[in-house]
């Protein structure tokens, strides 16, 4: 696969003279690759279930495109061109491969070309997303699998983001792809009644991808996940939670340029609103509104809609100039009812500390009952903040130190250390 990134595809680098054609063809190939990769994989693999063979065929088709397009021009239907080349390549492969019966393979190819009418409306990528987030696939490999098969990311890139050795990641991805084929996981969109249950796994995997390198790293994966969330909203515009996730990621993405200052984390309420992407915020507000319209009347919003609503409250500061802590407190309380989590519980306490005072926040922290609380970094950071506000400096310093020791990312660590520094100055 040619290496691609969203920014690159969106803004092709301009060259001079003859170079333009080649770069243009390359950028176009990459654009098509980005938009169609998962679709091509799904079309090639849906009959046989063989993702590995489909990947090989598409990789060859891209090589051919990069060679042919600059010379003969970009075809009218670049996607169809790539598919035809990939299919031919698969037939060649089948002829060479004695284990496969050629006639069967040729039939599969014909089937793939003549897309059934009822499927024409439904994007093939959606099928692939459901395959990647299938309940029979290990939860931990769903996001990496999605990144590779739907977006064509290299195993090496994915490994880096998930902090595992490239060989280990490659091995796990191959295992998952082999399982899809041998276990007979179908390339279909589940029946409507299974849809809500199955879609959540897809959304979680996409959100997981977004969180991977949003704060730290080159941000390639979070860009891809942002792109994917928009694809999902296009594919499933009737699903409230899908729109909820798209809005949620949109709100967070809008704050990308404000999240760090000289490599140090800047908490959302302290961020410079001038650095926020207002256009994206507005769009996310509109997507979230769409979500609420898709929901059954009087029904409780799902996890992603609630989380998006929380981000919408933060985003409103760019207009009102202040954070509505009371609204946040209510939304977190709702979130804890529908989707209780350790992170949600700690964030809720942090919000209560701002709304009702540090003593109340501390009380909230004291009643949290989750396993692993003692090793949960944000718990100690919020506790330290409450203690510092209450003037219990020594205890606060101790809690901050504990938070630093548990911190796994650099920007947060620097921010916590800055807090300790401020506390020390106060104490002396």
């Amino acid at each position: 696969m040619p290496p691609r990134s969203l920014r690159q595809a969106g803004n092709p680098i301009l060259c001079h003279g003859q170079c333009v054609t080649k770069t243009d063809a390359q950028a176009r190939a990459e654009d098509v690759a980005r938009a169609a990769y998962g679709k091509l994989i799904a079309m090639l693999a849906s009959k046989t279930g063989d993702i590995i063979a489909a990947e090989d065929a598409i990789a060859d088709a891209f090589v051919a495109a990069l060679k042919t397009w600059p010379e003969r021009g970009i075809p009218d239907k670049p996607e169809a061109w790539l598919l035809t080349v990939a299919k031919n390549r698969r037939i060649d492969q089948a002829r060479r491969d004695a284990r496969l019966v050629i006639t069967d393979e040729a039939n599969d190819m014909a089937d793939a070309q003549a897309i059934e009418p009822e499927d024409a409306e439904l994007d093939e990528r959606l099928k692939l997303l459901f395959v990647c987030a299938h309940p029979a696939i290990d939860e931990g490999i769903r996001t990496p699998l999605m990144l590779q098969t739907v977006l064509g990311l290299e195993a090496e890139q994915i490994a880096k983001a998930f902090l595992v050795k490239p060989a280990t990641m490659a091995q796990r991805l191959v295992r998952a792809k082999k399982k899809i084929k041998t276990a007979g996981i179908p390339f279909t969109v589940p029946e409507p009644d299974a849809y809500p249950e199955r879609m959540v796994a897809v959304l979680e995997a996409v959100y997981g991808a977004y969180s991977v390198d949003w704060l730290e790293g080159d941000g390639d994966i979070s860009h891809e996940a942002f792109f994917l969330s928009n694809v999902l909203a296009e594919l499933a515009p009737e699903d409230a939670e899908t729109l909820g996730l798209t809005a949620l990621i949109g709100f967070i993405e809008a704050r990308r340029d404000a999240r760090l200052s000289n490599g140090v984390l800047v908490p959302v309420p302290e961020q410079d609103v001038e650095l926020w992407d207002n256009q994206l915020i507005e769009r996310s507000v509109s997507v979230l509104t769409q979500a609420s319209l898709r929901r059954a009347p009087k029904s409780i919003p799902g996890r992603f809609q609630l989380e998006a609503a929380i981000q919408a409250v933060h985003a409103a500061r760019s207009v009102t100039g202040k954070t509505d802590w009371r609204a946040l407190s209510q939304l977190y309380s709702g979130l804890m009812q529908t989707y209780p989590s350790i992170g949600g519980a700690v964030s809720r306490a942090a919000v209560v500390a701002e709304d009702a005072g540090p003593a109340e926040g501390l009380k909230m922290l004291d009643v949290i009952e989750f396993d692993g609380l003692d090793t949960h970094q944000p718990f100690h950071a919020v506790r330290a903040h409450c203690l510092a506000e209450l003037g219990r400096a020594a205890e606060a310093a101790e809690a901050y130190a504990k938070a630093v020791s548990l911190c796994t990312d650099h920007p947060s660590k620097l921010w916590l250390m800055k807090k300790i520094e401020v506390l020390r100055k106060k104490m002396s």
Binding site: R99, H134, P135, A136, T182, A183, G184, I185, P186, T188, P190
Partner: protein, 117 residues
Amino acid sequence: MRYTFLLYSDPAMAANMTEEDWAKSKEIYGQYIGALQEAGVFIDTDWLHPADTATTITLASGEKRVQDGPFAETKETLGGFFAIEVENLDEAMQWAEKCPHVHYGKLEIRSSAMGSV
């Protein structure tokens, strides 16, 4: 695609079953088999005597070795199987969920490798 359901459970559970329990169990499994047959997916099934009655035999080391008892001593042992013919894993999983066994034991779904190598 042909799938086999391997039914694992703790044999100690069966030890306490009364005659009435067995009759009830037979009836429930009979209904399940009937449903599989009606859907045209049924291939085969069997219900095995406990693993402690097993005889394990191997010639893998070159000479014949016979062992009284199962290949591996585990708490949960293979107690039976179903073989069905359905389109894909989703359909297999739907039938697996309906199998009475899942309420007290574990059901492992494996696809047939016959013809793929």
